[in-house]
């Protein structure tokens, strides 16, 4: 078990997000993800799915609504306390965002910095006391053999797996992924989805993943949330989502 404090629940209730430009990106979206569950959010561009993820991650403050992660109400926290609460969330982006000139292991160790706020780590020293744990995280994504390699020598899929290992090194209690396979080839995409699946099934994490591929969603998710114009169109078990529902979701753009 990688998470020390144990997985926590992700809850988002009645999220409304109106941008300063007046655009309504979210209009009452609600989602609760239990430990061990993988929920995929689908929707066309501009449906509000990335906005929703960023609200849950505490990167955006919703105009109305509540976000709670592992018991901490992110929407009521600010500054340092928000930053501390966010540490419970492991975030995976579309691009791996590794520090390219550093080794794979150093990149994973960067995930532990939040727990090691000292003068030395502020000046650039890595918390090597966590090296064994970082290797354990790399092992979880199957890349422990590449620990000493420089990050810029990795393939896109490998880099994304290292990014997942870095998120694990943070000892998260929940995982968010924002289009994690959008820039990967199909084989690497499957590999990443299998990893996210096992984070939920084996590590017991709640996982929310924004995707553009309905086929992957149906295969890997427990439940699928369909968003259109910031509203929930459906939230159902993956096996009961019909092709018709998905077609209608993506046609919602014209409506």
């Amino acid at each position: 078990m990688i998470s020390a404090a144990g997985p926590g629940m992700i809850e988002a209730e009645g999220l409304v997000m109106r941008y300063p430009t007046g655009r309504l990106a979210l209009d009452g979206a609600t989602l609760a993800v239990a430990p061990g569950e993988l929920v995929v959010v689908l929707g066309h561009n501009g449906s509000g799915k990335s906005t929703m993820l960023r609200c849950i991650a505490g990167l955006l403050r919703p105009t109305a609504g509540m976000v709670r992660v592992a018991g901490a109400e992110l929407t009521r926290l600010t500054g340092r306390r928000l930053a501390n609460a966010r540490m419970a969330l492991g975030m995976i982006f579309q691009h791996a965002h590794l520090v390219r000139r550093r080794s794979v292991l150093a990149n994973v160790l960067c995930g532990t910095l939040g727990r090691h706020r000292s003068v030395a780590t502020s000046l650039g020293a890595l918390p090597w006391s966590e090296a064994a744990f970082a290797e354990q995280c790399l092992d979880a994504v199957g890349l422990v053999s590449l620990a000493r390699q420089r990050a810029d020598t990795l393939s896109g899929g490998q880099a994304q797996r290292v990014a997942i290992a870095r998120a694990l090194a943070q000892r998260p209690r929940a995982v968010l992924a924002d289009e994690p396979v959008a820039s990967l080839d199909p084989e690497a995409a499957e590999e990443i989805m299998r990893l996210l699946r096992s984070l939920a099934s084996d590590e017991g994490m709640p996982v929310v993943c924004v995707l553009h591929q309905p086929a992957l969603a149906c295969r890997y998710a427990d439940r699928i949330l369909g968003l259109s114009q910031g509203r929930t169109v459906f939230l159902e078990r993956a096996e009961s989502v019909t092709p018709h529902q998905i077609t209608a979701l993506y046609e919602g753009r014209a409506a």
Partner: protein, 272 residues
């Protein structure tokens, strides 16, 4: 290096569709315009090839009188050579220290506020626009003859060159790692030292080394206006018609420039 790629690479794709007649006429027009420009340049610089021919005798005389180089004075070149190298080393180091904070202020993604951005850009532009030789003239007037005004001139001009290149590196930096580490709970200082520094440091070092190499060449010339080093020796020897000393000093200069260039290139290759 990225800049050059950006300029060079897309040009093939940039070609806009033109009518066949226009595309045939354009190169001729371009060549014609260039010849006109070249013609007026030849008139303005008063180019007279016959002067070269009539002056050949004088040049041969100088060459004869400067051969062989006076190697007995090689010991005397050591100190001015060291002075030249030190002007460049001191000037470049001081410039790097001043250019770093200026570059952070002058980069759109890191500047704290618009007024700082414009102020930093203005300082950098001023330092760069005035050539180092002119800075040297000003500093010689201000602090007197010697290597110190040379080092000041090198550093002020370099602040302009380095400030601009450094700020471009900071602006081109991949912000992804910064966002990822911020999300993971790292403090601002940790994000700076673990994401910003490792991604920009190699480029900054490479630029600084290249600048050092350029400054060695610059400090050779600065001596001509009284700012110490080999240039000053060269000027003195010329004025005293000691052409064999001149040729020796030129050889020493040549050796220093070659070695510095190779060394700087090798170090930069190591970094990237």
């Amino acid at each position: 290096m990225n800049r050059i790629e950006q300029i060079v690479l897309p040009s093939e794709q940039r070609a806009t569709p033109r009518t066949p007649q226009a595309s045939r006429a354009l190169p001729f027009l371009g060549v014609f315009l260039f010849l006109v420009l070249l013609g007026q340049a030849a008139i303005v610089v008063q180019a007279r090839p016959q002067d070269l021919i009539s002056g050949a005798h004088g040049m041969a005389d100088i060459l004869r009188r400067s051969f062989p180089p006076d190697f007995s004075k090689i010991g005397d070149t050591f100190e001015p050579a060291l002075e030249t190298l030190d002007i460049a080393l001191f000037g470049t180091t001081a410039a790097v220290i001043m250019a770093l904070p200026l570059a952070v202020l002058a980069a759109r993604n890191t500047t704290p506020a618009r007024p700082f951005y414009f102020a930093a850009r203005a300082i950098i532009a001023l330092c760069r626009a005035v050539p180092d030789l002119v800075w040297a003239l000003l500093f010689v007037t201000a602090v007197g003859l010697g290597p110190f005004p040379g080092a000041l001139a090198v550093s002020v001009h370099s602040v302009g060159m380095l400030g601009r290149l450094f700020s471009e590196v900071v602006e081109d930096m991949d912000m992804g790692a910064v966002e990822a580490l911020t999300m993971s709970g790292a403090s601002r200082l940790q994000v700076f030292s673990h994401a910003v520094v490792p991604s920009v440091l190699p480029s900054l070092l490479g630029i600084a080394l290249y600048r050092l190499d350029e400054n060695i060449r610059a400090s050779l010339v600065l001596g001509f206006v009284g700012a110490g080093g080999l240039g000053f020796q060269l000027l003195t020897a010329m004025n005293l018609f000691q052409y064999r000393t001149v040729s020796l000093l030129l050889l020493v200069t040549f050796a220093i420039v070659m070695v510095a260039e190779r060394l700087s290139a090798a170090l930069r290759a190591q970094i990237s």
